[in-house]
Amino acid sequence: MLAFLLELTSWARTGHVYLFALFMLMIWLLWAIRISLARHYRPYQANWSTTASVIIPVVDEPLDLFRTVLDRIVAQRPTETVVVINGPRNEDIEALCDELGVRWVWTEVPGKRNAIRTGLEHTSGEVAVLVDSDTVWTGSTLRELLKPFSDPQVGGVTTRQRILDPGRSVLTRWADWLENIRNEYSMPAMSVLGTVGCLPGRTIAFRRSILLGCMDKFLSERFLGVFLEVSDDRTLTNYTLKAGYQTVYQSTALVYTDAPVKLATLLRQQYRWARGSQYNTLRMLPWMLRNAPVLALFYTADIVAPFVLVSAVASWVVALAAGSKAAIYDQLPLPDQPARALAVVLALSLTMTLFSLAVRFGHHFAYRPGDLLYLPAFMVINTAMLMPVRVAGFFRMAHNSGWGTRANAFAGERARNPLVAIPYLLGVCLLAVSVLISV
């Protein structure tokens, strides 16, 4: 924040454009747009009843967790519930379903997409609720989730998501923080416009008719010469939007989900999401530009921001290596001794960063001020890991891949594809532009 302000003044005075200042301006601008939109957000209030089929694709899951998942769902009396076991047979889960009186089907074909189709074939409710096998509902999840369907314009609804027991480790706290930021800022903002760009797959409700209409494309459509199995939720959201329906967020429908506790798993998950989401952003960009410019702005910024940050950090490293001093700090009245000056700069910038994040993420920290203690860790994870992972994900967007977090899951197809080069070219252009700005 300190560096941002000093770069701004320097910019205003000398006309020298700082990449990091651009990045921060973009971040604050997007933040302002999001909160001003989110202020208008209200969840749907009136009850609405319709037939609802819950579809739960599962490969393997710890039995006690899955028991809780099913228990909670069954207790809310959906019209019907079906568990779709995909890949190798899983007799434990079959037995558990039998015990709880939940219908199950088995399909040999691995992959979540095929499991969703199988689930649809075995159900008939007007609304299909897709649930991840590790997602735990709260008492009124289903009732709340169905409310928005009172509006015939609404085609897809998502829930508020939190992480189960976030106090377990820094990683779960970070994941909870990230989810909550999404719940409090981007989801309501996009929902106000009726265009939530991605209804997260932990629990989504779609009109069955929409899913049936897009199922063939869902299982085969290629982009950049590749069929990407991951990011099924975003793909379905895209089809819903393209079919002319609204996608909304119902903040009162709360679900809990697990988060990786191992760094490697977390990175693989983030990498998978990074690829899937950026792949779909490119794919949807023409539509978004025509029909939902704000959404296009949000998602383009999602792609551009990591590139800008990575370039900015790289330019700092180069500047440090070249031995040039950080001239922007000379605008401050600093003590003469270098050690003290450094201490003052550090203390000042840490304080300002703390308060700026406390404001920018106030909707989270106001309720969990304790998480402020973990901010340095969050920042390290974001800057040092998430941003590079997103950049890497962009480059490797059109490569084949599987899920990364699950054994026995869809493993991707093996084929050569010349269009793989397109994301690389785009990525190099983005990096080049960023670097050009910074020199």
Binding site: L5, Q331, L348, A358
Partner: protein, 363 residues
Amino acid sequence: MSRHSARTRRTRRVWTIGNGLVLAVASVWVLTIAFDSAPAAHPVSSADLLVRDLVPSEPAPAPAVSPPPGKADYLRPARPRFGVSYPEAPFGPASLAAISANAGAAPTLIEYFVKWTEEFRPAPALACYRAGALPVVAWEPWAGEQDGGSQPKFALRRIIGGDFDPYITRVALGMRDTGSPIVLRFAHEMNGKWYPWSEARSGNAAGEYVRAWRHVHDIFTAVGAVNVIWVWSPNIIRPAPSVQLGPLYPGDGYVDWVGLVGYAVKERTPAEVFGPTLKILRRFTAKPLLITETGAQPGPYQAGWTRDLFRWIAAQKDAVGFIWFEFDRAGATADWRFGRSPATLAAFRAGVAATALAPPVRR
């Protein structure tokens, strides 16, 4: 809206407003500080900006026709000069006497620093002459170190634009009127990024240094201050390897000597300190060389390096001499005084004794 959610909204509002206020106050504070050195409104009338209005009308062309005696005689000395800069320079006769006694000879160059917040005074220049030394004025377009490394008030653009013409003119007239050669080392170490006149600071842009230099030089020429010897004095490239020297050079028409600032930090010989930079300088100018600041870091190589300096200077065909930076840690980044260690003192004395140095100057 339930009572519960009303309360959570209040919590949120209090949190956001509280933290937002702190952030806003801190931001405004930082912005004010960063901006406070912005150019103040400088009440200059358009008449002030015209040099000719400030020049007394009678004498100007006369000195331009025949340069005052002296400058030409000093431009290419047959023998190198040993010079010195010390904290009270050019005053503090006791210090000067001690340095001369230590060295075994009196310096014939005395360098002192003048900021752009100071008017020209003839007394220091005359004090140099009384001591038998040429005055070397390091003329720095800033208000001093306490105002920071960026001083937009002294931005090169403002110099070029004429904002300082009245001041420059007064200084030029003052120097002209001393009637004796004065070595002027304007805006030194311009290739470093540490002074406000660096093109990387104070809102300066590439190309402005040379334009500012020429602008200042033009005013001196216009008022007939042709007794001034112009030293363009970059730092050796070691601390600023990426800055090109060529684009900062005002041109042979505007420069009499090239100066070099170089201290031995780890280098064992003067050739190691000055050689690489000199090689670059010689690509674009053949003007005589004056080492405008030098010294060696205290340590095992200091004595040997100091003795070598005299040999190195004597071996340069075009060397005007060198100026030893006789400052301790109170005034510089290290204690550079040659009298500090007996070995270095002996080396210095030996160097002075063994080198045929230029004689003292006279007015």
